[in-house]
């Protein structure tokens, strides 16, 4: 042992190369050691949920800054870095993510982009929401302005994902979650979008409720245009369903005896209540115009055009609004077509025959009451009668051969009289007309077929 002390007093010369060795080792190893420790620390934090993680290594000391989402998570993260072999000290600069109260998240859509804002609870849910927005919105730009905050209500992710699906149905607008209340505002992309969103919202996770739903839908538009030059009735826009669609087109076919019905209607949800009840009579009014347009927008109905004569204009203005469903508004802009030039009796007869050749005056089955669908035809007949003021006209009623002769005779007389009354009510002098019934005595077609019978049931105007 004594020898060792003796020898050790002569060990000092080796310390000079040792110091040099130390210097070189320190110079060449510091950066690799720091890089290695940083990589090991990052790996140790791989399974820990943190935000804004920053790791810098100074020698063997790790400066560790991060935002954690719970106190436990924060402590575990620091412990994980402390446990990395080779780490001497951890400068703990971690903190908890701020708590949002109330916890507000929003998705706002304008023409070009969707902006996700407010708070998201975790980085994973944040990226999940952005991804879902990309998937739901296709090529629309998605701007992520979400912050991370604590304090999200349970099942927040499911609620937000559902709402992202709904924002795809908006043209513009904003959806907000505040704690567990959902507010929506804006304009739906399509007709029925409002209803589709309302249906979607029924699947909101438990605990969430809709505080305000101010989604508006684009106006529900229906248009009918009567074109006297092309002799067409063009229907465009929307109808509530196929049943209403078929009924409207059939009714238009009856009312517009002369015009070809061009049907460009599409079925869509979102119609105001009472749509069919309002549009039906309005189409009837349009059929009484020589040219005109009917525009229905939500609950507002606008009819414009030219009536054939003054009394018709007054009747249309007064009559239409009466049968309307509640809440509907009616605006009529009816002028009167300039009176056509007078014609002589022969031309007058030709015009009557021409009109009645294209359409029959209809009556309710087995009765003498005129079907309202024939109003358009009657207006044309009245206009013609006004053009030959000196002519006397016989209104002749005919029936088919079904039923008893006496009944048919009486019915034909009553129907001819009903037409005459209609004309007189429109302002024509009663002494120009005589109403005559012929029963089934003057058929113009076979009474053996339904088609023939239909031809035989008729009113004729004969100029005397």
């Amino acid at each position: 042992m004594h020898g060792l002390f003796r020898w050790s007093s002569k060990w000092w010369p080796g310390t000079i190369p040792l110091a040099i060795l130390w210097g070189i080792a320190a110079w060449s190893n510091t950066v690799p050691l720091e890089t290695d420790l940083a990589a090991r620390s990052t790996t140790a934090l791989k399974d820990t949920v943190l935000d804004k993680t920053q790791i810098t290594v100074d020698g063997r000391d790790v400066n560790f800054a991060a935002d954690a989402f719970s106190e436990d998570g924060r402590r575990n993260a620091v412990a994980a870095v402390e446990a990395v072999p080779g780490v001497r000290l951890v400068n703990d600069e971690t903190r908890l993510v701020p708590e949002a109260k109330p916890f507000v998240w929003s998705a706002e859509r304008d023409v070009v982009r969707v902006t996700l804002g407010g708070s998201a609870p975790l980085p994973a849910s944040k990226s999940k929401l952005v991804e879902a927005a990309h998937a739901a919105l296709g090529n629309v730009e998605v701007a992520d302005q979400m912050n991370l905050s604590r304090g999200a209500p349970p099942r927040f992710d499911a609620a937000a994902l559902l709402l992202i699906e709904q924002i795809a149905k908006l043209k513009d607008g904003k959806i907000t979650i505040s704690d567990n209340k959902v507010s929506l505002s804006g304009m739906a992309r399509e007709l029925g979008g409002r209803e589709a969103i309302a249906t979607g919202l029924k699947n909101l996770p438990e605990g969430f409720s809709v505080a305000a739903d101010d989604i508006k839908a684009p106006p529900y538009v229906f248009q009918a245009y009567k074109d006297p030059v092309a002799v067409t009735l063009t229907l465009t826009g929307y109808v509530p369903d196929d049943k209403v669609h078929a009924a409207l087109v059939a009714s238009a076919g009856r009312k517009f005896f002369n015009e070809k019905v061009v049907d460009n209607l599409k079925a869509s949800v979102g119609a105001a209540g009472g749509f069919a009840a309002a549009v039906g009579p309005a189409l009837g009014a349009l059929s009484r115009l020589s040219t005109g347009t009917l525009v229905v927008s939500d609950r507002e109905l606008k009819l414009s055009g030219d009536a054939f004569y003054d009394a018709a204009a007054v009747q249309i203005r007064a009559g239409l609004g009466k049968d309307f469903p509640q809440g509907w508004q009616f605006k009529a802009d009816i002028s009167v077509k300039p009176a056509a030039a007078p014609v002589d009796a022969t031309v007058c007869q030709q015009l009557f025959s021409d009109l009645l050749g294209r359409g029959n005056i209809r009556f309710l089955p087995g009765q003498a009451a005129i079907d309202p669908d024939s109003a358009g035809l009657l207006d044309r007949l009245i206009e013609t009668a006004l053009r030959c003021p000196s002519a006397n006209i016989e209104i002749a009623g005919h029936t088919d051969a079904d039923g008893e002769d006496g009944f048919n005779q009486a019915l034909s007389e009553k129907r001819a009289q009903a037409v005459m009354d209609y004309l007189v009510k429109a302002g024509l002098p009663a002494d120009r007309f005589t109403a005559v019934g012929y029963g089934s005595t003057q058929p113009i077609a076979s009474n053996e077929t339904d088609e023939g019978k239909a031809h035989n049931r008729r009113i004729e105007f004969v100029v005397r």
């Binding site: 020898w7 060990w11 010369p13 040792l18 060795l21 320190a26 100074d58 020698g59 001497r88």
Partner: protein, 98 residues
């Protein structure tokens, strides 16, 4: 510690060999010795540095360099001890045999 040993094994081996050579030579060397007083001061210095390293009071890179230096120095001393013993054994054996 094992991490540091693994990371710097080459340098530590170098220090051990250097110590072995220094110890080997020291047995027969006639040069200047360190006085007892100086040796005590040096021991005190090393103890202080060791204490500083264990207490982790020196931050950042200097702290790491100190750790590295002390490890190299420890290995150097081990090398010296082995070298000295072996040389002493090699030198004294023929004498004792004779």
């Amino acid at each position: 510690m094992s991490y540091l040993a693994m990371f710097h094994w080459g340098w530590l081996l170098g220090a051990l060999l250097l110590g072995f050579v220094a110890g080997w030579i020291s047995v027969v060397q006639r040069g200047r010795s360190v006085s007892k007083v100086t040796a005590r001061w040096l021991a005190l210095l090393v103890a202080a540095l060791l204490a500083a390293a264990l207490a982790r009071v020196i931050p950042g890179r200097p702290g790491y360099w100190l750790d590295l230096g002390l490890m190299l120095f420890a290995l150097y001393l081990v090398g010296c001890t082995i070298g000295s013993w072996l040389r002493h054994w090699a030198v004294s054996r023929p004498t004792s045999a004779a």
